[in-house]
């Protein structure tokens, strides 16, 4: 009877989204992951100059983007644009070659790049950043394409940008922007993304939806831990503001637990975290002398990468390998960006190395 129900449920979901090509998609994504830069590349890149790094990157999977953009940009800008474009192209490719349920879930997850781009545009326009710099940070891996976003970046002010986004679902939040509440709008966009994502995932009857939900809820936990540490470091104790910064729907850290943690000191907060699985990852770096949160944030990112990889090994024919690849690819691009920006700003090698998540 249970088997029959399971088959019925499966066929219902198949009617909704179509069947997925797990074997093809996961094998392809695994091959793509093996094409990522190996760990020993980063120390070598640290010893290179900007031009050498550009040449090196041109010989890897970023070749096409570097070649295409070399006419328009040079130096750091070229690499930045190439990295953003490659990230967008890669994620769009994943959406293209996945089918049915898998494609639907990946598309919904990648909407976070729409939020990222809208935030970039608003921040850029709000602080009058140069158009080129805004375009550099656009990663059109979501549903809003690059030409549309670049068009918005060319506009004069943030009100024009918001008007330009009138036909998107984000307008309901954006129209609340009055020129003073940028951080509130950003928080609301994040909350909108996650509530939209959980709504899209819907019932957890299908195993892939359950996996994605677990993955996202763990991601929310990590974001909340990061936010709480930042709040404690900068001793922000505004009782009205803090709950807005916390995302609901965590896997281990429920809202009640977080509310209890808000008034704690950094040390007490560290102790309160001991009972959660994240503690193992951060126990080495949490202490009373936390002058900088870089080590903590790096460890948390490492943890999320490690757990995504573990997840993909435990569920080889599911959405997990794709999520694992997305996390690893995002990290590679972020590492390259850190090296390039660090080099361009003549930062000390040690400072750059501490920022890298390897």
């Amino acid at each position: 009877m249970r088997l029959l129900q399971k088959i019925r449920r499966k066929s219902r979901s198949a009617q909704n989204r179509g069947s997925s090509n797990y074997a093809y998609a996961t094998a392809r994504v695994r091959a793509m992951k093996s094409n990522l830069l190996p760990i020993d590349t980063y120390p070598r890149l640290m010893n290179m100059g900007i031009n050498e790094i550009t040449r090196f990157i041109q010989e890897t999977q970023y070749k096409q983007e570097v070649d295409e953009l070399a006419r328009e940009y040079t130096g750091v800008d070229l690499i930045e644009h190439a990295l953003s474009t490659n990230l967008a192209n890669t994620f769009s490719k994943i959406i293209r070659f996945t089918e049915g349920e898998l494609c639907y879930l990946v598309t919904e997850y990648l909407r976070n790049y729409d939020i990222w781009n809208i935030k970039t545009l608003l921040r850029g326009k709000y602080y009058n950043a140069p158009v080129d710099e805004i375009k550099e940070s656009i990663v059109s891996a979501g549903q809003l394409n690059y030409s549309f976003l670049a068009g918005l970046a060319d506009m004069d002010s943030y009100t024009d940008v918001i008007e330009g986004l009138k036909n998107t679902p984000y307008y309901t939040v954006l129209k609340e922007f009055d020129g003073t509440n940028l951080s509130d709008i950003e928080n609301m966009l994040d909350q909108m993304y996650y509530s939209g994502l959980f709504h899209a995932i819907g019932g957890l009857g299908v195993s892939d939806r359950r996996l994605l939900s677990t993955f996202i809820r763990s991601e929310i936990d990590i974001k909340n831990i990061r936010t709480l540490f930042r709040l404690k470091k900068y001793t922000i104790e505004d009782e009205e503001e803090i709950p807005q910064l916390i995302l609901a729907g965590g896997l281990e850290l429920k809202m009640d637990d977080i509310e209890k943690m808000i008034p704690l000191s950094t040390e007490e907060f560290g102790q309160a975290l001991e009972k959660y699985s994240y503690w193992k990852a951060i126990s080495n770096v949490v202490g009373s002398d936390m002058d900088s949160l870089i080590a903590l944030e790096t460890e948390l990112t490492k943890y999320s990468i490690r757990s995504a990889t573990k997840f993909s090994h435990a569920h080889p024919l599911s959405i997990a390998p794709i999520m694992d690849y997305i996390v690893s690819k995002r990290n590679e691009v972020s590492n390259l960006r850190i090296i390039i920006r660090g080099k361009a700003s003549n930062l000390n090698e040690e400072v750059i190395r501490n920022q890298l998540v390897i």
Binding site: N21, A23, Y24, A25, A27, R28, R30, A31, M32, N35
Partner: protein, 77 residues
């Protein structure tokens, strides 16, 4: 009447049906296996051309089931 006809059926005919089922079902089984392996092999090859050799070998591994089916069919007949 039907029962009498069944009783009169030539045993070699039943053997032939058995042999056919052995090869046919084995073929369907290996086909189902190869479907996913082939898809995965093509997926991996799209990103890494050097996976062609490995992919090809992996794809034909379920083919051995058909050989078992064929052997059984030969033994029956």
């Amino acid at each position: 009447m039907v029962g009498e006809e069944m009783m009169m059926m030539d045993p070699s005919g039943l053997k032939a049906i058995g042999a056919g089922l052995a090869v046919g079902l084995a073929g369907i089984g290996s086909g189902l296996g190869e479907k996913d392996i082939g898809a995965a092999a093509v997926g991996a090859m799209t990103e890494k051309e050097e996976m062609f050799g490995k992919g090809l070998i992996m794809t034909v591994i379920p083919e051995s089931i058909v050989i078992f089916g064929l052997v059984v069919a030969l033994l029956i007949s």
